[in-house]
Symmetry: C2
Subunit: 509 residues, 2 copies
């Protein structure tokens, strides 16, 4: 059908500089002859072709002079996908039907999909043939526990195949993943150098924050350079046995990134998609031994032990079907792990642990050693029950700190975390015991203060569950890089005083 | 949370003239302090407030000078919803959570929703609180036959309550609906004057084409004025007992319009939503007696008799629960009804039937009388089995044609259909019998020729199933208002010669 539009004069490409994330959008004038003859309306899906490439995009109709007659405007994602320059001749026509949507419909009608059908859906999503609403339909159709084990395994394979994979040519490659939701849970930059110092290969790539105040990549970025190419990652891992890089510049399981964008807007839990998402990334990254950390708590992502057990079983079954060694640990998710929430504050915490400072957050050290210990046991570096001790020894000997510095230097820099000039302390007017800490509200306050874009911004929590406090004790401190953002976070804090709850008055010990 | 943003300076509203249909979109600069402090990213849902009103919109981030510093750009729907003028001060903040999304999630997890929950979802959709991907999740969760009768009934009630309703103060108000998919099936403008001439009240509002080459409103628009206010509709119906107006200027079941936009992109059949959609519109319009026409055929919307029977039963059960008199007729959907496809050509057909011309399309007359007859019997104007005869008499006596002219004059005009200057005839190179006619391809060709925007454009079919043809007989003729559009439709026809298939060579009688 591409040749159909040849009779029409081409339009001139114009970059509009509009970020619509993954969904490519083109902007055409309502009086454009192509719109009229094709019968295009706002939100039509259209096939947009340059001489060398084509994409499917969503159409927005323009009634102003934002786009001149004879032009067609492009969102950033559409511009990049077509690799355009200003004025490139563009043809627009009706897209061919998307065959794989019939499989999405089959899933809606309760059918079980096979690997070919899931591969076809995933390929079309990665190739940009689905509108966001169609991705939403796929996610919803797979929601709850509508995918069986065979489908989750097939979906994982399909997501791996739709992207690049890294083959390390090694019998054992270590990775870990935390099923999010816990602020300040920055164990990765501690356990990676512990494991590497013990001789394991840990090519760790992490994500930036999407809805949280900091991702591991954001935190590591205040300490070193994390934007590495696949070649640079290989070099660092070859030299130091490990890296702490951002995963965004390597194209591992790109379907996952696209699905996550829409999943976030829906907030529909799909155990099957969560498992496929995590395992496809790990297997594509070349991991052979993977630890999954599931924090469980009332304000964490997974809220009950029963839910965690079910999720753990699915992880184990699908990993077994894919030949991946896996271990799942359920941990306490009832409160933040370190003291800081936000890139710079979390970096400060993890440096204190690595440097064995006396005031280092004890829970962060314990949690990192617990997870590192499990991996050391999985990898045969420690006998069962001896892993945590080996992890602690590696920290206490300074070997982990040395390895961390070596990794950062291999990545091109070893920087000091930034410090925020503006602060606000929340104190308690009365004595009591800390009864609850709301992870979600803490994250929100840290984001309002500027995290993660302002690396020094965030929240520092001074208490833990069960702590006794006296009048005027500091409960938490907000850090910000500007007074405007500080005020913003303070406003929110004042409207939500239940972020840290004390025992009711009179109940103090 | 609205007061939170008061510390920030307001932004200046700027109308960008971008049509994104129902979804309100705002455009903010990536360096905008509000984006930074709120942590907004592309596709964030944001609460946009003027002094007097607020809406929830989807954010697009702009990296060009399309929006100046200190400004915020608006899509047409966002601009209209907030009723803005250039430069209005605007505050932007995080929207409150949407409670009803938890009911959508409950539906995904297989729970049955009650009327309060469905009402809450529908109200939020009508109020613009849902992003399109969230509407898609709701539609998908209700897809296949996941809504039970109680839910469909509750959904219908909720959709009625979310809009305006018309009360005619009459014991009997007639309406009809065709479950689409059949080109040229323009029976409504024929049966409405038949019924009105027999003394029935038929305040018919119709839709414009969305994906088809013509809606009833498009066809009527070439003959009279169809954009009537609710007040004008009342006047016309009071004078003539009937109208033939466009339904778009009255706000009946607005949820339906919003759901349809997204359903179209998904093409997921939901029997429950189809029934709720049709019945909510009819009840809101004040109808008491409704006829549903379900054309059944391999290229119609409903493809098998079993599917039609199931759908008919659901219509009947839900209508009974809502106290609506209903009758469902399944008709032959294997080929177009009239000869013309496109507003002007369909108008020509229906005028020929109303004027009892000898060359009027026989099937269109028969079909209109069948449906009118069923309604005359429902309404007690004819004994069972006598309705079609009364309909034919009303046509043959000229009373229906007189009533049609009176209705058009009451609506402000009686115009002659336009005629297209450019034509292309498809002839057959050999003799044979007509084996099949593809409704979907015919619609596509008519749209490529310019229908419905070019009212004279479309396709005229010269043959019916089973007809014998000789070499050089005309099978169909394309009409267009410009040579460019004619070529466009001809290209498509040449690429799809199977639009009309003859018996294989040697099988001719």
């Amino acid at each position: 059908m591409i040749q159909l539009s040849d009779r029409m004069l081409p339009l001139e490409a114009r970059r509009l500089g509009i970020d619509t994330r993954q969904e490519p959008i083109v902007f055409m004038r309502s009086d454009c002859p192509v719109c009229r003859s094709e019968g295009f309306a706002a939100l039509s899906r259209v096939l947009v072709s340059s001489d060398s490439q084509h994409i499917i995009a969503t159409l927005n109709i323009v009634t102003s002079d934002m786009v001149a007659p004879g032009q067609i405007g492009f969102s950033e994602s559409a511009w990049r996908r077509l690799d355009l320059v200003e004025g490139t001749p563009i043809h627009v026509s009706h897209p061919p039907p998307i065959q794989s949507l019939s499989y999405v419909r089959a899933k809606v009608y309760g059918h079980t999909l096979d690997e070919m059908q899931l591969q076809s859906i995933i390929n079309d999503i990665v190739d940009g043939r689905y509108a966001d609403v169609q991705v939403a339909a796929f996610i919803t159709a797979c929601g709850s526990d509508r995918l069986d084990l065979g489908e989750i395994t097939a979906l994982t394979r399909a997501m791996i195949k739709a992207g690049e994979t890294i083959d390390w040519g090694l019998p054992m490659v270590i990775d870990k993943h935390c099923v999010g939701g816990l602020p300040g849970n920055r164990t990765t930059p501690i356990l990676v150098p512990i494991l590497a110092a013990c001789g394991l290969t840990v090519p760790k790539t992490s994500s930036r924050a999407i809805t949280s105040p900091a991702g591991t990549a954001d935190t590591m970025e205040v300490l070193t350079n994390v934007s590495l190419s696949q070649e640079q990652i290989r070099d660092v891992v070859k030299r130091e046995g490990a890296c702490l890089a951002w995963g965004g510049s390597v194209r591992l399981s790109p379907a996952d990134d696209l699905l996550i964008q829409v999943e976030r807007a829906l907030d529909i839990d799909s155990e099957g998609q969560l498992v496929a998402s995590v395992l496809s990334k790990k297997i594509a990254a070349g991991a052979t031994h993977v630890l999954i950390d599931i924090p469980v708590g009332p304000t964490a992502k997974v809220r009950s032990q029963a839910q965690a057990d079910k999720l753990a079983a699915t992880f184990e079954d699908v990993a077994a079907a894919l030949g991946l060694n896996i271990r799942v640990i359920c941990t306490d998710g009832s409160q933040p792990i370190g003291r800081g929430v936000g890139p710079g504050l979390e970096a400060k915490d993890l440096l204190a642990v690595l440097q064995c400072k006396p005031d280092a957050p004890a829970e962060l050290r314990t949690r990192a050693c617990l997870l590192a210990g499990a991996l050391l046991e999985m990898a045969g570096k420690a006998a069962e029950g001896r892993g945590q001790a080996l992890a602690r020894e590696t920290l206490d000997s300074g070997l982990a700190w040395q390895k961390f510095q070596a990794i950062c230097r291999a990545q091109g820099a070893l920087k000091r975390p930034p410090v925020a000039p503006y602060r606000y302390s929340l104190t308690t007017p009365r004595a009591g015991q800390v009864l609850s800490i709301d992870n979600r509200l803490l994250s929100k306050i840290a984001k309002l203060a500027g995290a993660p874009l302002d690396p020094a911004a965030g929240v520092e929590i001074s208490v833990r569950l069960g702590d006794s406090v006296e009048p005027n004790d500091v409960l938490l401190m907000i850090h910000a890089e500007s007074s405007g953002e500080l005020n913003y976070a303070v406003d929110y804090l004042e409207a939500h005083p239940d972020v840290i709850q004390l025992t009711p008055e009179g109940n103090t010990p």
